[in-house]
């Protein structure tokens, strides 16, 4: 299923063609692994519609195939995402298996899933392997954050950030990197990431004594639950127009799908996590990790759809 665009916005593939551009792969240096759609939250901007009721999680078999893949090829970055990756029962095997070969291993967390019994081992492993934690932290304002992620998550996220800081995460010189991701709570596109980062740094430190390394601010991708909300709230057309009007040809050069290979929870491969959300396979093909002999060759065409407008708007999506 691909998203149906309002007529006033040109389909993304056509907009590339009309500007004489194409989107092709470079060397694959980033491995992204989606370990499943199970999540303790059900955020309104989630393009995967992850949530507590989702059953789809990566099996032990697929986990070992992914680890195998990471050994066969050398990736510079390995990005583990979900759902809430912490909720996959094989997460320790995965992170343990991926670490130690020079790649920068990152774990995406909504922070709240890192809290609670049974998570100590995971945190110990992250400390030991110096796993980079990339935490969603949408807003400095409780109401705004909770309108996106649900009641009670703000203070819990603050607590987890403080705990991570206490363990050395986000502290200069510790080698333990803690990055924050702030997605806008609604149908607007963030701008000026560095000013936002300064403000987050100042307020988190002054109010809560929290430190972090970097803040990333990404536009929400019009898919899944966010798309449903856009349509229901009457914002879909104007949001798509806004994305299409903020096209930045430089962002096109740096989009993540050019150097990334994304493995879905069931082992199927994609050009990115967003294509995964709509079942649009790697280069438009259905390829399973067990069939992958070589990494996709540079020059291979990337499967695009209209949500790609979100990755190429403004300063882009890395």
């Amino acid at each position: 299923m691909t998203s149906k665009l309002p007529q006033m916005v040109e389909p993304f593939s056509q907009s590339l063609k009309s500007r004489g551009l194409s989107l092709t792969r470079l060397k694959s240096t980033v491995l992204q692994i989606n370990v499943g759609l199970l999540c303790n939250l059900a955020c309104r901007h989630c393009h995967l519609e992850a949530g507590p009721a989702r059953q789809e999680i990566m099996s032990a078999d697929t986990v070992s195939q992914v680890v195998e893949l990471s050994k066969r090829f050398s990736f510079g970055v390995i990005d583990v995402t979900g759902g809430a990756p912490e909720m996959n029962p094989h997460i320790l095997d995965l992170l343990g298996g991926l670490s130690g070969r020079g790649a920068r291993v990152m774990l995406r967390s909504n922070l709240t899933a890192m809290d609670g019994p049974g998570r100590e081992q995971l945190i110990d492993l992250c400390l030991d392997k110096k796993v980079v934690i990339v935490a969603s932290f949408p807003a400095l304002n409780e109401t705004q954050a909770e309108s996106q992620r649900g009641k009670g998550i703000f203070l819990k996220s603050i607590e987890v950030l403080q705990r991570l800081n206490g363990l050395g995460y986000g502290k200069t010189g510790s080698g333990l990197e803690l990055n924050l991701v702030s997605n806008p709570a609604g149908a607007f596109i963030p701008n000026n990431q560095s000013q936002l980062e300064d403000r987050f740094r100042q307020i988190l430190m002054n109010k809560w004594g929290i430190e972090f390394n970097q803040l990333f601010s990404f536009a929400n991708v019009p898919l899944g639950r966010f798309k449903k909300w856009l349509v229901a709230s009457g914002n879909y057309v104007s949001y798509m127009e806004k994305l299409a009007h903020s096209q930045n040809p430089c962002a096109l050069d740096g989009v993540m799908c050019r150097s990334l290979i994304s493995v879905g929870w069931d082992g199927y491969l994609y050009d990115c996590d967003f294509n995964q959300a709509i079942g649009l396979g790697l280069g438009g093909q259905q390829i399973h990790i067990s069939e992958l002999e070589e990494l996709p060759v540079p020059g291979l065409e990337i499967a695009v759809s209209d949500h790609c407008y979100a990755c190429t708007a403004g300063s882009g999506f890395t």
């Binding site: 304002n141 705004q144 702030s182 806008p184 701008n191 601010s217």
Partner: protein, 110 residues
């Protein structure tokens, strides 16, 4: 719906330069310079603009700066407080002129 204000006019703002391009250029250069980061951040300037938009009651500016404030990372609580500042000054300005009324009334009446 027929109305004096048309939301679709907002993105056409630059067309105002068609009859007087040089003046428009001066205005837009100045406008852009005003909103660039200086002693105040772009975010703070947008909050001021939002408050002023309410004081001058311009629906175009209210729309535009609501968007801009959100994009620059402000939240609804901050934006609402900014509007209260505009309201307090508007109200205060009327009231303080009441002293002129009182002086005049004082002079004219027993």
């Amino acid at each position: 719906m027929e109305s004096y204000y048309q939301p679709e006019d907002l993105p056409k703002f630059a067309e105002i330069g068609q009859e007087a391009p040089e003046l428009a250029k001066k205005f837009f250069d100045y406008y852009n310079a005003v909103f660039a980061e200086g002693e105040l951040s772009e975010r703070e300037k947008s909050l001021i603009a939002l408050a002023v938009a309410h004081a001058v009651q311009c629906p175009y500016c209210i729309d535009a700066y609501t968007q801009t404030c959100l994009e620059k990372g402000s939240n609804k609580a901050e934006m609402t407080e900014a509007i209260h500042v505009a309201t307090a000054i508007r109200g205060g300005a009327s009231l303080v002129h009441g002293l002129q009324m009182r002086n005049t009334a004082q002079k004219l009446s027993f």
